[in-house]
Subunit: 411 residues, 2 copies
């Protein structure tokens, strides 16, 4: 497979907030060969990177090869057929301009970097694709906030894309998720090591050897909250139960009260502490603030009366995929969005995956995600492996996904 | 109504952890008159106090008059008929011995206070009641972790109580709640102002005028997480939506990045910030660590093979009450517990309340909680307003609360 990775300087960039920077650098990777009509843009999730399929970059965790089971030669997004492009979004920390990157004065921007929006991400991708010689896209595919990014393409550049696949996403976050994201940001900015966002020089100065200066405690908390949002009650029950962690797992990630030692260090705590430690080594705290704000702010209907009107000009087809165990981006939200596309007479299929895996399902259940996605890219909403909620022969009272409509959360 | 409030020194207290203190002081309130056979013990929730019905103490927030709609003259727990006692639990901060109270050396215990368990709470209540001349209880009533406390009475003192009402509770927490509690504790102990638990003198020293020294930022985060756990997705949607906060609400509770000002300060953030501010003024951070550990550690089956055997010796009747929108303590958990009581041939009723209010429902929906509780105290599980899940004529496949069994969370 031909792969390419690099950066493109797209020049002065005007952000939606009204601010600008003299040069926006966009880091990207591509897989496969462009034949003029086969480009697929993949949009990464919150803390993801351009490294979709494991070639090239050195990043780790979710940032590395995050959809390797879905994208590659012979896989659902087949790089033998498609030219796949993924770009790191503005505000992130994997090579595209963001708070940790160097500003015009030679210092890291920090919180002088302009606030970013999902719309800025979409516009930066359009500029990158222009540089790469890609005009109209065959498809845009994205999961989680990357799914919002994909939806934004249908709204912002309705003639530029033939097929949009928005996986485990929603037209906007609900207030429960907004609350948890706000708590996560508060954890970062109340960590004294955040220092108003100016911490890039402190790592070496304060003796940190791991190259990750800044508000580690706050960022760890933010990540742990994220992890709970990505799992479901039942997946946590299966994965951890109330078990104590193994003998060599020790509670040493952070200070604890002496009383703690009377109680078991549980598997679930150990898992979260381990995940947090990995994360603070790979992600920038200011980027976390910026990207969660962009996600929280996104509202597909912005500038329009409603979601239906926001997508009415879109000329292509849409696949929405949701997961029954996902409480971050719910099946209910996807179904409401599907109704908006239907009302706008945009061909749409809403494929509901039964899964206990919570929001993470879109990453960890490739055998369920792959077939409908492959068929959608190849043949559109009529693809054989796609089961649209609207195809159900039952009376359409929502009963086909009653578990979600009547969930604990939706009341 | 005759009311009384005070403290009782019960002397040396041996904690379940094996440690002891020379004197345990228990702060309590009582309402109504004792006739030898009409005592009802009420167990408070995590951050609650002995001030159930609003008389006497000066505490605020959930700590003050927290069940005033349920307990009082002519109310569901009628203080004209019953002698109601509520005691602050060991480890808390409303007058019963705990980390902030004075140890033998004249200084606050801080984290030298022994780790506490729900079993210690039950045993301290038994000692208090002995002092008050109360032998056998007519009933023990408790909500949330207070419900665990009530269940512990049935297990620990099976002959001492005629009726146990355990509201919005569970025999043990699930790993999702354990995770969120662990994150909350980490927020407290990684706040530098926690200082290993030794912060009681710092308030005045650092110029704080509000009398609440210690890790305010960490405790605020912990409380905000708690609040999200007490609400449901749908109650948050109704209460806040994605609305911006009113004009006079300002984002000044804590530092934020400049980028924040481009985005709205939302109602849901403003609410959480306000709640957190109130809470840090009334609750002790070490107590929060201690009490959440006790809750996380509680397991009704501990020392027995299962829940059924744990309650088999109990001679009284049990009312379990759960709420369909509660994801902290679920209807599903209550139903499994009801099965355990049924298997042990203990008379039990499980009354499910349809509610969007999440876990908070047991506090904020007195019109739904009161009638079954009143009838249970007066006439037991056959009370007219009590609807037992086992009475349903449908085949007992769980379908009467399918919304919870098949929820997003239980998957």
């Amino acid at each position: 497979m031909k792969t390419d990775s690099g950066t493109v300087d797209v020049g002065r960039f005007d952000f939606e907030c009204g601010e600008e920077i003299p040069n926006l650098r966009v880091a990207y990777e591509s897989y496969g060969e462009f034949d003029g009509d086969n480009a697929v843009l993949v949009c990464h999730a919150l803390t993801g990177s351009q490294n979709v399929a494991g070639y090239g970059s050195e990043t780790t965790g979710q940032a590395r090869a995050w959809w390797n089971d879905i994208v590659g030669p012979g896989k659902a997004v087949d790089t033998n057929d498609y030219f796949v492009v993924c770009a790191n979004v503005p505000g992130s920390c994997y090579g595209t301009s963001g708070p940790p990157s160097e500003g015009p004065d030679g210092d890291p921007y920090g919180t002088d970097f302009p606030p970013v929006t999902v719309g800025d991400w979409t516009r930066s991708q359009r500029l990158l694709l222009d540089e790469l010689g890609v005009g109209r896209l065959h498809a845009v595919v994205g999961g989680s906030v990357g799914g919002m990014n994909a939806l934004d393409w249908a709204k912002r550049y309705p003639d530029d894309v033939r097929r949009v696949a928005a996986v485990a996403t929603a037209p906007r976050l609900d207030p429960q998720c907004l609350a948890l994201d706000a708590i996560a940001r508060r954890a970062i900015t109340t960590d004294p090591d955040w220092n108003g966002g100016d911490y890039y020089e402190s790592g070496e100065a304060d003796g940190d050897a791991d190259g990750a200066p800044g508000p580690k405690n706050g960022l760890a908390l933010a990540r742990q909250l994220g992890h709970v949002m990505y799992l479901s009650k039942s997946s946590m029950e299966q994965k951890f139960g109330r078990r104590a962690a193994g003998r060599d797992a020790t509670r040493d990630a952070f200070p604890a009260d002496p009383a703690a030692s009377f109680f078991p260090y549980r598997d679930v705590e150990s898992y979260l502490d381990y995940q947090a430690e990995k994360f603070v080594g790979r992600f920038d705290a200011n980027s976390y603030l910026y990207l969660t704000r962009a996600m929280d702010d996104y509202d597909l209907s912005e500038g329009y009366e409603d979601d239906t009107r926001a997508v009415a000009a879109y000329e292509g087809e849409t696949l929405l995929m949701s997961f029954t165990g996902d409480w971050h981006f719910t099946t209910e939200q996807s179904e409401a969005l599907a109704e908006s596309f239907r009302d706008a007479d945009v061909p749409v299929a809403h494929h509901v995956v039964e899964s206990d895996h919570g929001h993470d399902a879109f990453l960890v259940e490739p055998e369920k995600v792959g077939p409908p996605l492959r068929d959608f890219l190849d043949t559109g909403v009529e693809g054989r492996a796609i089961h649209d909620t609207d195809d159900d022969e039952e009376i359409d009272d929502g009963s086909q996904f009653a578990p979600v409509h009547n969930s604990l959360f939706s009341g």
